[in-house]
């Protein structure tokens, strides 16, 4: 991520300097984001098309096995993937990149020629909703608990929370999900797991009605809990160590000496500075949660992009697999970009140093 060093930009005329450097910082970040998307798109292309035993070869084999003649199979596979197999590889690659830029990922092989883009736009809102909400909850709760741990360090509360956080951090989200289903749904019977399958009840009309909101919350609650439990541990531990470090800073001692109230020191001095580095973690966390969503959405039969990716993998539906994977990557890369901007906006030091680096 971004490197933090002391800035030596005082020689610039202040306002002018900030403006030029900030703009180049934004541009540099954007260039990196676009580069990572290109990188992933290229890797995907090679996996799907150019490697021996690539996806398109398997697809052709599959179709021939179903009794389609080899020429037809070749044409069908090419049509599904949106690739012209008769062109040289370089032309195919450019065509493919062009399609990706236009959001055209071909057609599904299993779901009767449904457009992949359409399939993705249908499920994407659910993932954005569940992942976004869980991120917000985790961020707020993790910061609160981490601060408590730092303030009460070496008391029983700290030991309890630290061990809890370390344990949650060590156990994989998939196992936490299984445990949640097993205990909440089956053994203690707190929630009706079977009725909770899907992102909303069938027959429910999407819209800003109370019934709809209650319904989607009912479907997402256990998944949300699992997301929060599986990622909160590292937030708590990091917030604790940040807060402890900040509490040792001179300016906090000075603030105490000036007789400021504890509440004021916590909000204006300690909290702000300790929270700042956590914003870079937000980006990492997005990738982590989205990665975990492939398993968790499948486990909870929650129809989001992770579920779609898992299903396309198990059905060997390569066009869908390629499209979903690209969309997931692009979303995560842009979430990173956004987090970088937010961080640069919150902490001017980053922006200033970012330019002349």
């Amino acid at each position: 991520m971004t490197t933090i060093t002391n800035s030596h930009t005082t020689s610039h005329p202040v306002l002018d300097g900030i403006r030029t450097v900030a703009s180049s910082y934004l541009l540099r970040r954007l260039a990196k984001a676009l580069f990572s998307i290109w990188l992933v798109a290229t890797i995907t292309f090679f996996v799907i098309r150019a490697m021996p035993g690539s996806a398109i070869d398997i697809l052709i084999q599959d179709l021939t096995a179903q009794g389609v003649s080899s020429d037809d199979a070749r044409n069908q596979a090419a049509a599904l993937m949106g690739i012209d197999l008769d062109q040289p590889l370089s032309e195919q690659y450019l065509d493919y990149l062009n399609n990706v830029i236009h959001g055209d990922f071909g057609r599904s092989y299993r779901s009767a020629g449904l457009s992949v883009t359409e399939m993705i736009t249908r499920v994407l809102p659910w993932t954005l909703f569940s992942v976004g909400l869980s991120l917000i909850i985790t961020f707020v709760l993790g910061i609160a608990l981490g601060t408590i741990m730092a303030y009460k360090r070496d008391t029983w509360i700290d030991h309890l929370l630290s061990n809890l956080a370390a344990t949650l951090d060590a156990v994989s989200p998939y196992l936490i999900g299984l445990l949640a289903i097993l205990f909440f749904g089956i053994i203690w019977k707190l929630v009706p797991i079977m009725e909770m399958r899907g992102a909303m009840s069938s027959g429910m009309k999407p819209g800003f009605t109370v019934a709809f909101l209650v319904d989607i919350f009912k479907h997402v609650r256990v998944l949300l809990l699992v997301y929060v439990l599986s990622s909160i541990g590292s937030w708590m531990l990091q917030m604790k160590s940040n807060t402890v470090a900040t509490l040792g800073e001179d300016y906090v001692t000075v603030a105490r000496a000036r007789g400021l109230t504890d509440g004021r020191i916590l909000t204006a001095y300690v909290g702000r500075n300790a929270t700042l580095p956590l914003f870079t973690r937000l980006a990492i966390s997005v990738g982590f949660i989205v990665g975990g969503s492939v398993l968790l959405e499948t486990l909870f039969t929650y129809q989001g992009v992770g579920f779609l990716l898992a299903r396309s993998i198990s059905e060997r539906d390569y066009p869908v697999m390629q499209g979903v994977f690209l969309v997931i990557t692009i979303s995560v890369v842009f979430a990173n970009l956004l987090a970088d901007y937010v961080y640069g906006w919150l902490d001017p030091r980053i922006r200033l140093v970012g330019g002349d680096n």
Binding site: V47, S54, L179, L309, T329
Partner: protein, 295 residues
């Protein structure tokens, strides 16, 4: 060839010292002993208790009893015996992935730190870009298309995807060590780069390398159980991950009586991961003086 011997010697001394400090930390010692036990049971256990070959219809989905300490599964086979036989793949993949990715990371990370300048900048930019790509979906897609069949290729693939994050950490470690006085003194005495790397740098990074390797191992365990759950790598019938997803697929999750068949392999995985992490965390506490004083 005295440099490797020196290196092994200092590595050995470092290990003995580590164990001495470790035995002072209860959680760390517990973790260490558990890890060794699980590895031993996974590799020697199958020789003493070979896997059951036939199903036992009379004993399907039983709870715990004197005969079956961890109950029986949907085929009436003993869960404990399956656990003993199912650890080898998990442990092997964890070890292989951890060591392989750390090896690549140490080479690339220290190379980047030593060479510095533009090469370093480009390498680290590439690493940072790589880190923004969600790894698990990438792994799942690659493993599907490559249709991996065995433990080694899977470990290699995971190591290839995971090393960049470790390399960045190694680089910052090397950079901070490089500016220490004893390394500068060694450089000024012109002791030679291999000697500086093997005698001065690496021994001082051993704890860091051990900790990162261990965390990478837990990550590899998580990833491979995930791949098994998605049905991408069915490389062996007896494996904790396979036990979980088989139980899940058989609807065991919805049959409270059969809960043991899913809890047992989960407990095995969690225990292994927790043992690894508490061992690693205690190393962290021992070698990081700021944590040792209990800030």
């Amino acid at each position: 060839m005295h440099i490797p011997v020196d290196f092994i010697d200092s590595f050995w001394r470092e290990s003995v010292k580590t164990f001495k400090i470790l035995s002072r930390n209860k959680m760390g010692l517990f973790g260490f002993i558990m890890v060794i036990l699980i590895i031993l049971i996974s590799f020697l256990g199958p020789l003493l208790w070979p896997p059951e070959t036939s199903a036992n219809v009379a004993e399907i989905n039983k709870g715990i009893s004197a005969d079956h300490w961890l109950g029986t599964d949907f085929q009436g086979q003993d869960n404990l015996r399956k656990i003993i036989n199912g650890g080898k793949d998990i442990v092997t993949i964890a070890l292989l992935t951890g060591v392989l990715s750390m090896l690549i990371a140490v080479v690339v990370g220290s190379f980047s730190a030593f060479i510095g300048g533009r090469v370093d900048g480009i390498l680290m930019d590439l690493v940072n870009i790589w880190l923004t790509i969600p790894k698990f979906p990438l792994l799942a897609v690659l493993a599907t298309v490559l249709s991996l069949k065995d433990v080694i290729t899977l470990s290699v693939l995971m190591a290839l995807l995971d090393w960049p994050a470790l390399a960045r950490q190694v680089r910052s470690q090397v950079l901070s060590l490089k500016s220490r006085e004893y390394i500068e003194a060694a450089t000024m005495l012109d002791l030679g780069t291999p000697r500086i790397i093997f005698r001065e740098l690496l021994p001082n990074m051993m704890s860091f390398i051990a900790i990162s390797t261990i965390f990478e191992m837990t990550h590899a365990i998580y990833q491979q159980t995930g791949l098994v759950f998605l049905g991408i790598v069915p490389y062996s019938s007896a494996n904790w991950g396979v036990m979980i997803s088989a139980a899940e697929r058989r609807g065991v999750l919805f049959n409270p009586q059969a809960a043991w068949s899913i809890l047992a392999p989960m407990a095995a995985i969690v225990l292994f991961q927790l043992a690894l992490v508490s061992f690693a965390r205690s190393l962290d506490e021992i070698f990081n003086p700021r944590l040792r004083t209990g800030v």
